[in-house]
Amino acid sequence: METDLDILAEYVEESRAHLEHAEKIFVEIKKTGETSPDAINDLFRAIHTIKGSAGYLELTNISTLTHAMESLLDDLREGALVMNPDISEALIEGVDMLNNMFDDVSKSAEFDVNALVDVLKRLRQTPPATDNAPAAGKNAETAATSAEGAAGVTPQPAPAEPSPVANDDEVKEAEEAGAAEEVGAPPAAEDAPSPATPPTRAAERDPAPQAVHQVAQPSTSVSDVTKHEEFLRIRVDILDRLMMLAGELVLVRNQQLMHMDQADPTLRGITTSLNAVTTELQETIMRTRMQPIGTVFSRFSRMVRDLSRKLGKDIEFVTEGDDVELDKNMLEAIADPLTHLIRNACDHGVETPAERAAAGKADAGRVTLSAYHESGQIHVDIQDNGRGMSRETIRKKVLEKKLKTESELSHVSDQELLDMIFLPGFSTATVVTEVSGRGVGMDVVKTGVEKFGGSVSISSTEGSGSIVKLRLPLTLAIIPSLIVQSGDERFAIPQVNLEELVCLYDEDVLTRIECADVREVFRLRECLLPMVRLREALARVEVFDDAALSSVTGMNAEARKELAAKMKEAEAAGHPLHVSLNFAVLRAGNIRFGLIIDRIIGSEEIVVKPMHRAVKDIALYSGTTVLGDGKVAMILDAMGLARHYNVRDVSGGPEEKKVAAGSESGELRSLLLFSNGGSEQFGISMQDVKRVEAVETSKIERIGSQEYLTLDGVSTRVVRLEDGLGLQSCSQPENMFLLIPQTSRKPYGLLVEKLIDSGHYEVRLNHDSYRAAGVEGTVLIKNKMTVLVNLEQLVNMIDCMWYGEQTA
């Protein structure tokens, strides 16, 4: 019960934020008299989000109104309509009405939205719109009756049990929220589980096919325990202040340590305790901001329940890792993307019972939401066992929406095709439903998650389901970054933007950086990488144009010539001159470039502080930070740098990507090549590999026929390639490599003997020459036959073995 009320209260709060944003946009529109596509998109998203949740909370009036507004905005977005004062007036009226309804959601059903809905509908039709008017009127009539029916239910105070810590206002709010649910629920929903019943009981009592089996026991038990603990509401800004003061204390402690007289034993004792207390204080304050992710998860169980009823599907919702803790800000930030993803999984992923039966699957579909820690990040996976994504549909849709051309599509790999669902404007649902399918979902998710330093990846097998993986930083405020130096100043580059570091020596410094037209480029494994010189970018305030670029390029070409002469001289004199040049390969959105810096200092976890208002508009920086020695460093914004240096999107043009690859037929894939004792060469898709560990074979432990290795405190099952593929066994050298797969949830690694190379290779698969389970086929790489291992298949095979052993 309590969670349901919380959901509603939270929804009201969120919707208010969205409305506030929408109002701001309208003010802007009024002021400038212009509407940018971005503004329309923002409005659309705001209304779309409000509508989505209104649907499952059964706030009929809000849902009806937002639906009408959304349809109108959608037309504006598509360009079918042009914004005019009438339209904006009607939309503003809609926003106002929504605001009024949110003032007291319990009475939202009493508002008359039909007049406005009619106006909105009429606006959608290009004038003269007389022929469609009767239909609209009829619609309004039905809407009116349903609204009447809903309003007829008398609001009654919900039997909410006020928790001891809630203040009066909250209780009142909760009661109102409860009443809202009673009112909002149409009479037809009577046979469905009442919202007041705890989800677990509802599932037991109501064995209808639409029921959702609540499996997330941990979350309920956690809340049972916490109910008895004491809580205090603290303002976030006070916590922030505490956090800052703790930071200051750390610096004072550092100074004290530096100036301490080591010889004095009493002083040393005091300093040691000061040290310990300071550290603990800081950690504790950090923890105040952390909350279990279960608080966000729990609200989705209801959402899935309602969705399954609406969609006529049988969906089981499972959550794992409810007690994983996340920064409060982060929790708020991921709520929206997760809502979209779960809605997508239920709507597009899981099939109807009939379809499932036809495919030979169990009636109940399953959506799994799991959170876990890994390598300093929080991972959240959303998995469904539905129909998966049809590559053919994606391809068709991309072409139909003109997001890519036919020739562009001919080069892409399977994964790249899958990633296209993240393109703005992409939507595979053929019918616009209340649940999802207007093409806002996935790109909102991606931009949303990337905004706070996370990443999204997707994999999907047709017929057996999809999995979307979110990787999130622990907090919004602390990010790992690379510290570099240019001139006398140090700068921080967020690790999320960093792809790799390249260092050139001696002769390479002179030859490897080439001039292409006005700019400098570097050939990085068959890719042309535009180069950006940080020093020049900082020195010039205006955005670089062609003239400026060519002068910089020319100057550096001169400098290289001089350097070459000097090196020759030095070599002739018998004291060869050693030079080096560092650059970092950065990616921002679709743009990839090399940033030439003077020196790489190292990596550091930095606390991000926002820019001062007076310097906020400088595109080059995303924030500031204090480095370990107390000096302030600026955090570079990769996208801003690229724009400032006028670097264009290079990923779009495949011809730039493949300078040297002549043939058209093969796809370009990023492969890791390795050998395993014998003379065979193997390849594996880089994106399947999470990381590579150098291991000593003497450390491998045996239990029965199985082998294990302890990595970072985790017993990792060692799988030998020869076991899986039935190859000759290799010699047993002391040092080997363990490939840790990306997808498997069970900890194990693939043991291989030698790594050969990695890079982008043109792959023309030959399926016939060599066949085995776990092998994709063979391919010629550098004129050598290479066996392409399908890690996923191999992983599945081994997973089966694993389960088999466990159940046996």
């Binding site: 800052m244 930071g247 610096l251 502080k609 007076a614 310097v615 508009d617």
Partner: protein
């Protein structure tokens, strides 16, 4: 004093933290001042407007430092030494920031009634302000005659411009 200049003028006496710059004496309401700092390590901000010196770190807090020479348009050639003190303002004045000044002088008590309101006198009536090429609107409240010299009274809240106007001079990518 923030933005409410009238209430400032209505006060009985005002204590001014005075400092010297380009041979002129300036003063700010001492209630606006948080602390005075030695010239610590300043991190320059490339692409910022010229009146921004950069960022400093004072006990974990990052502060923007403003170069008043530029703000007022004094000839930088006269500015012999960049080394000076930083007057840090309270966060109630604006987002945290400080100004780089040549020298911090005494605290003087001033009767606000003796301050010649700049709004009444007009900028050109005050000789000390003639070569201040581009002082922002509202930065100089007025002039107060002291025993030996004139004190230019500043409104700290307007040093970075009022509200969002502050960024107009920026050398951003336009």
């Amino acid at each position: 004093m923030n933005n409410n200049i009238d209430s400032f003028f209505n006060r009985f006496t005002v204590q001014m933290c005075t400092f010297r710059m380009a041979n002129r004496l300036f003063g700010v309401d001492i209630l606006d001042v948080k602390e005075v700092n030695e010239n610590v390590n300043i991190t320059p901000i490339y692409h910022a407007s010229p009146d921004i010196c950069g960022y400093i770190n004072i006990r974990g807090q990052i502060l923007l430092v403003v170069n008043l020479w530029e703000t007022f348009g004094f000839d930088q050639k006269d500015n012999a030494s960049q080394a000076g003190k930083i007057v840090v303002f309270k966060s109630s004045v604006d987002e945290p920031f400080g100004i780089l000044v040549d020298e911090v002088c005494d605290v003087v008590s001033v009767d606000p009634k003796r301050i010649v309101d700049r709004r009444a006198a007009g900028g050109d009536a005050i000789p000390e302000m003639r070569d201040m090429r581009h002082a922002r609107e509202g930065v100089v409240i007025g002039v107060c005659p002291l025993e030996k010299e004139l004190l230019l009274v500043l409104n700290a809240g307007h040093i970075l411009g009022a509200g969002n106007k502050a960024t107009t001079k920026q050398g951003g990518p336009n």
